[in-house]
Amino acid sequence: MSIPTSAARAKNYDVIVVGSGAAGGQTAYTLSMEGVKVLMLEAGRKYVPEQETPMFQTADQAPLRGASSPEKDFGFYDATIDGGWTVPGEPYVQSTDDPNGRFTWWRSRMLGGRTNHWGRISLRNGPYDFKPHARDGLGFDWPISYDDMAPYYDKVERLIGVYGTSEGLENTPNSSPGCLLPPPAPLVSDYLVQQRARRLGVPIIPGHRAVLTQQLDFKRSPALLHPGNLKAQKIIAEHMQQRSACIWATDCGRGCSIRANYQSTTVHLPPALATGNLDIVTDAMVSEVVLGRNGHAKGVKYIDKHSGAERVVTARAVVLAASACETARILLNSKSALFPNGLANSSGKVGRYIMDTVGSSVSGQIPLLESLPPLNEDGASGHAFYAPWWGYQDQQKGKLNFARGYHIEFGGGRRMPGAGTLHGLEHFTGGSYGKKLKEDARRYYGSFVGFDGRGEMIPNENSYCEIDPKVKDKWGIPVLRFHWKWSDHETRQAAHMQTTFAGIVEAMGGRVIGKVRTDGTEAIAPGGFIIHEVGGAIMGADRQISVTNQWCQTWDVKNLFVTDGAVFASNADKNPTLTIMAVAWRAADHIADRMRRKEL
């Protein structure tokens, strides 16, 4: 299968989709399956995981034993290319030197965007997460409920393949029967965390990740995904069969050449291309949405990175799915007489309410896990278990000093050694070297467990992006300037994570490595570090205080849609990718329906 990267075929497109990641991939998939002619524009290069993924390469075959560098932030073998917290020639600006006021912006300039690099953690938002303001008076409610979204979560899980279980816990939704794949077997350390955390009242249940623990149900799912659409059913049945189940080796973060995990490039784009309704132009850096005289979006302007030439493409509707902040940037840079402050910005809310996830980590050394016999613990290369938030009732009773919850991701085991393996061993050995060090290495390898909290940030007036008046990127496009501030809800939550994780390490009979940071401002990871950037064009029921309606349609421009994380009205502790896809599918269904009725 080839992905066209040359100039688009001359034809009349129905929809232009800007971006090719979770949102762009899902939007293009749904639309093209429904017979809508789509042109996708991607700022990065063509990327083919089947050919480019370093599946079994070991650390000693990479520069610096695979260690991270500013050019490969997550290590040499991470799938991300031409991306990271810095992108050469594409700067962004901070409004302050205060480290707590900075937002560090991760971008991925490649086909498939950030879906090539992620943890594959695929948790549903629950009922509370769509109506947080109704529950505690903070932030905003979405104009949709969990019941509106549940059918789309079911569809996305069936399509991309998500393992996990339905446990019926509070605000931790069950999936419909047949949607989830079986979870992978836990590791020794997983069982130990489960046993000891439960004693502290922390629930430990199977995690949800977009990894095929078995082949997708290509017989039943196609008809459930695309009822009445035989062509779509046939195409997706074929592609489900082309995807292999997990082979229990190699890190998902490298990408997957056998298509066993979810990447837009291996799951959404191939069947969408097979419909014949999708064209993709890569190396197309979109600068603005072009407005027609009638006040409708006419198309988009982009820079062809090869020639530097500016081009305009047109369609009946435009969908922005460029990632939350890039989408806000495109809107803010699309200025006209009708929209002097940026397109679809009559509310003044474009770029506002940028959110990330609250992150904090603790790791421990666990004597019970020392000197275990050799075990292959590659597993599914990510968590088998996690802890969903357990404090809803305590918060309702006012027992906690922060408003929203977090879940715990944790991992131990005998992972593939790399440049940093067994660093800092002197803290346990008293500085051994020589033959004693080799004995110590055998003893301590695999005895470490790390805990990462992932918590909800409440949108606030001090966290936003705007266009910098001076700085432009190398394409001549004005860049973003960021403003950032955590509230006490987030910093107190981070402190709570620290004491909770330290408690679990101790309950496991272990020792915390380093210091437990009880000052939340020290405990919290800087803005942007968790790479769960959402907001910037939030959806709402009131056009005065939101940018889109529940269909991701901008209030101001009826044929302009935003289907990425920008529309999130809250950022639950649940990792955003699954919800981005579910929201995008629902919006794309709506667009296809309106197109059929000639309303767009």
Binding site: T53, T58, P63, A67, F76, V188, D378, R414, L422, A441
Partner: protein
Amino acid sequence: MTDRRTTIKWMLSVAASMPLLNQRSWSQEVTALPAYRGYGTDPDLTKLYRPGDAWPLTLSQAQRRTAAALCNVIIPDDGRSPNAEGVGVVDFIDEWVSAPYPRQTADRPIVLEGLAWMDAEALLRFEKYFAELDESQQHAICDDICYEPNAKPKFARAAAFFTRYRDLTVGGFYSTPAGSRDIGYIGNVPLPKFDGPPAELLRKLGLGPEST
């Protein structure tokens, strides 16, 4: 040819004058790195790289000799797995201190000054380079610097170097196939299914699906 006594006198004067006593001019002269580029933001991930492929190696033969001796003291051949030099750790350390990235350029003076200190200290105590010492002599020096909390103030910087160098050696060694095998890493092979740990091991540890 420089005779041994002259060399020793020179080394002693260097040792007395610095790198670890903060004379920046000397260390800059010794450690300055030519401006190399990195592997870029879009390197070929499927290619097999060796140290020197992405940027040139920069250690001198003398520095490499000391580097090898020290990493073999840290990770010797013990009959179960080879020494650090034997699996390419010297090349890795050379690649590391020659790399054009911030973390590595920060390590470069620490490592180069540290290696110079090892030789200076060896000459001071035993009138031989570190690589020429016997095991007990090498250990006599390393014992003074192998654990920062116990190091005397005069060895503080040498101990900080040793901590860093041990981590580089350990990471460089255990990330090779021989090092991985030594600590019992048996993954990175495709499996038809994944069963998790054997029930017997879980029982022994008091763990498992039904344990509380």
